[in-house]
Symmetry: C2
Subunit: 245 residues, 2 copies
Amino acid sequence: MEAVTVSKIPVIEMFGPTIQGEGTVIGVKTMFVRTYGCDYRCSWCDSAFTWDGTAKNKVQMMAADEIMNELLALAGDNFDCVTISGGNPALIGEGMGTFINLLHERGIQAAIETQGSKWQEWFNDVDVLTISPKPPSSGMTTNWEILDNIMSKMENLGRSTHSLKVVVFDDKDFDYAKDIHRRYPNVQLFLQPGNDDVTEEGDISARLLGRLEWLFNKVILDPEMNRVRVLPQLHALIWHNKRGK
Amino acid sequence: MEAVTVSKIPVIEMFGPTIQGEGTVIGVKTMFVRTYGCDYRCSWCDSAFTWDGTAKNKVQMMAADEIMNELLALAGDNFDCVTISGGNPALIGEGMGTFINLLHERGIQAAIETQGSKWQEWFNDVDVLTISPKPPSSGMTTNWEILDNIMSKMENLGRSTHSLKVVVFDDKDFDYAKDIHRRYPNVQLFLQPGNDDVTEEGDISARLLGRLEWLFNKVILDPEMNRVRVLPQLHALIWHNKRGK
């Protein structure tokens, strides 16, 4: 008998059903699975607990079927979509491929967001793939060679549900988004205004809508941006900075 | 010499560029062309000036090329999408087909919203077709035979950008939306919370976000609604009840 290796996945939180607040499938009912660990350290990360060590003792190493069972326990048949976020879920290997197969066996679609710093074979099976390169305000530096390679693989998949997303805090970020749009003109680009304070308590909707209007007006004035789409984070407009929503 | 008949289009307003606030192409830069006249009289219509007579003297009868020229004068090359709304633009005949051809010659996409009370041959050429049947709160009654026929034609086009949209004000409207979803399960259904007061001045975003949260929670709790999408009217969150935005 050979030993069977089960690739476990570091999970920091699972919640739902809720409504996807951003990107290609904005407005769709989804469960969330958030993985632990990130190769980036974005200055404004809204999920820094996935990498800054403060929640390290809450990480559970789970096999694909254990995650599936936990989602079913949480929501029964009350979802057809699972969003895998992080941290950077692209750091996870074959275990995630197994999990996505389990979702597909039940007719559930898999959506994933990652910054475009690493490709995994299981990306080929993802229904909604969002590559979200980080603009200058994040403090991170884009490795264009790696991103070009990932975008080439994604474009070869030819899925209209796959897209790019750039969070925009300021004019420099907007210029970065334009560079991204020029570089990958055939991929739908979403722009999302940044949340300047992810720790503020209470109702932050007025501040966020002000930033959305600012970004709307930037795009409205710019003929190079005729085909991008500008969307807010709906969950933040409604549930503000609360976790697990 | 034979006389050439040019089908003119009754236009009540044109504006943009702005951002599409709702539906399939939410977040995309677009011009708006609003046609005059409607076969419906929805109690909560946000564009009643298109049919209640109050703006009748502002209607311009325009040929397709005149509308095209006016859009170019307004926005130059700063748009790749035109949204045709009403009133009910499906009341317009071949003139609209000519206009859509002019858009396509320039690589501009045509989006249209109509209630599903009438089909026109030029629907076949529309890039983004939204059929928006009106729920009980509107005071209108759906003719299911006509709607079935229109949905069948739309589904035959096989475009992933075509969709249904139902505005939801209350529980009865939500039940109506469920009926629509059961009847046309293969067409993407968007739900949109209604704006209870389209004349209120000032910032109405808190009220609208409250209604979005209510609708989110209705969908979250209902396993029959796993595949619908719930979206607000972004333009109303930002520009409130102002016209021409």
